[in-house]
């Protein structure tokens, strides 16, 4: 009689443990998915800021057409890029390079540099690039937490059975590791 009771208690504890562990893994996995879409949100936000920036610069430096066009082309390329991470990153890198050219340009035009609109946009773009970086960082942190959770004992026992698979980290591609060129 006692033996049966003990077995039942042990079984109950096991079930509770599995439920708690499973919920934890679900939460971590959802965090990873959310973090991934966060990156896209910030990238899109950056793309949205660009037309405004180009218009402001045109008002002061209209004859710097090459630089302005480079920015616009890079933006369109980023919008049209296929979803593969490599293509996205290359487009992203191109855009960063073009933007750096544009901001370097403002050094030669003191009026532009002092323009409130331009300064506000510069602040917004810097902040958005920061947000993109932080979103990627948060994604990697979430992936770390999730991978650790499914690989450590005791969760590893049932993780694969319930189709929890490892996620990949966001890694900078080789091309993106080169700093963008700024040419005067």
């Amino acid at each position: 009689m006692i033996a049966l009771l003990i077995v039942l208690i042990v079984l109950a504890l096991l079930v509770i443990w599995v439920i708690v562990a499973y919920n934890g893994l679900i939460r971590k996995r959802n965090r990873v998915d959310n973090a991934w879409s966060q990156i896209d949100v910030q990238l899109k936000r950056r793309l949205d800021l660009i037309p405004n920036l180009v218009e402001t610069v045109k008002g002061y430096a209209a004859h710097e057409r090459q630089t302005l066009e480079a920015v616009i082309n890079a933006r369109n390329a980023a919008l049209a890029a296929p979803s593969s991470p490599v293509a996205q990153e290359q487009a992203d890198n191109l855009l960063t390079g073009a933007l750096r050219q544009l901001f370097a340009l403002s050094e030669q035009y003191p009026d532009l540099k002092a323009n409130q609109n331009f300064l506000a946009l510069q602040e917004e773009l810097t902040a958005t690039e920061g947000r993109v970086a932080y979103a990627r960082q948060y994604y990697n942190d979430s992936v770390l937490a999730f991978n650790t959770a499914i690989e450590t004992f005791p969760n590893v026992v049932f993780a694969r059975m319930l189709s929890f698979t490892k996620r990949d980290y966001f890694e900078a591609e080789e091309a993106a590791k080169q700093p963008p060129q700024v040419k005067f």
Binding site: Y134, Q137, Y138
Partner: protein, 301 residues
Amino acid sequence: MLDLIAANKRRTVLLIAAFVLLTVGVGAALGFLVGNGVLGTLVALGVAAVMAFGSYWKADSIALAVSRAVPADPETYKRLHNLVEGLCIASGLPKPRIYIVVDPAPNAFATGRNPKHAAIAVTTGLLEKMNRVELEGVIAHELAHIRNYDILVATIAVTLVGTIVLISEVVIRLMWWNGGRVRREGDRDNGANPLALVGFLLLLLAPLFARLMKAAISRRRETLADVSACQMTRYPPGLLSALEKLRDDSTVTHSATSATAHLWIEEPLSGVRDQGRLGWLHRLYATHPPIEERIALVREL
């Protein structure tokens, strides 16, 4: 960095455990001297808990009102809002309310009972004197306080201090009113019991130890917040540079009181940097580790 954080959390737990032990010891001393220790301890714990958690619940509004903080307008303080938003993305926290304190001394604090009801305040002095990465480091430190539930930890510490103080005061008064005898009429005379003396000493010294422990916990959490902040930004030089600027700046924050001292990033109470004869005593009560120590730690990250 992650193991430093884990180590710090362990030390906090140890400190709080020691605190609880002290409370139990005081309760036992009370029981021994007065005759009903358990009830007395529970009552004291209950009263202290109600007071402390009542103030914890309203922690954000109280701290903000005392410091005369005003909400930060998103248009005027665009950079501040942007930095906070970026760091909230990095840490997964919801964005806290942001306030400004008009004060020429550079300082900042965070408050709020959990990440959903949190608030951060920065002084105008901080905004003027820090550049972008330094400001980011300071904000990361404050957000780290919120994320690590430091307000809750501080409230627990304050509750335990309150309990110990209450018990000690009650027992000492009881003994005083009874003319030194604490047993009721009819008990066997135990006047020569040496444990009574130990209990009495414990009661006298416990409030002191309790306050020292509370200060020690506060210092631990400050170090934890520094390390967490660097993990959030992945850029220790930002916070490092900010700490160095804080060290070199000698303006005193006027908007802080001793009650809110532990919330600010830099020790706002004057006298803690004394090198004189009582300097060590001041340092025991310091709510923040010495700034040189903080700088050395961040430099190693």
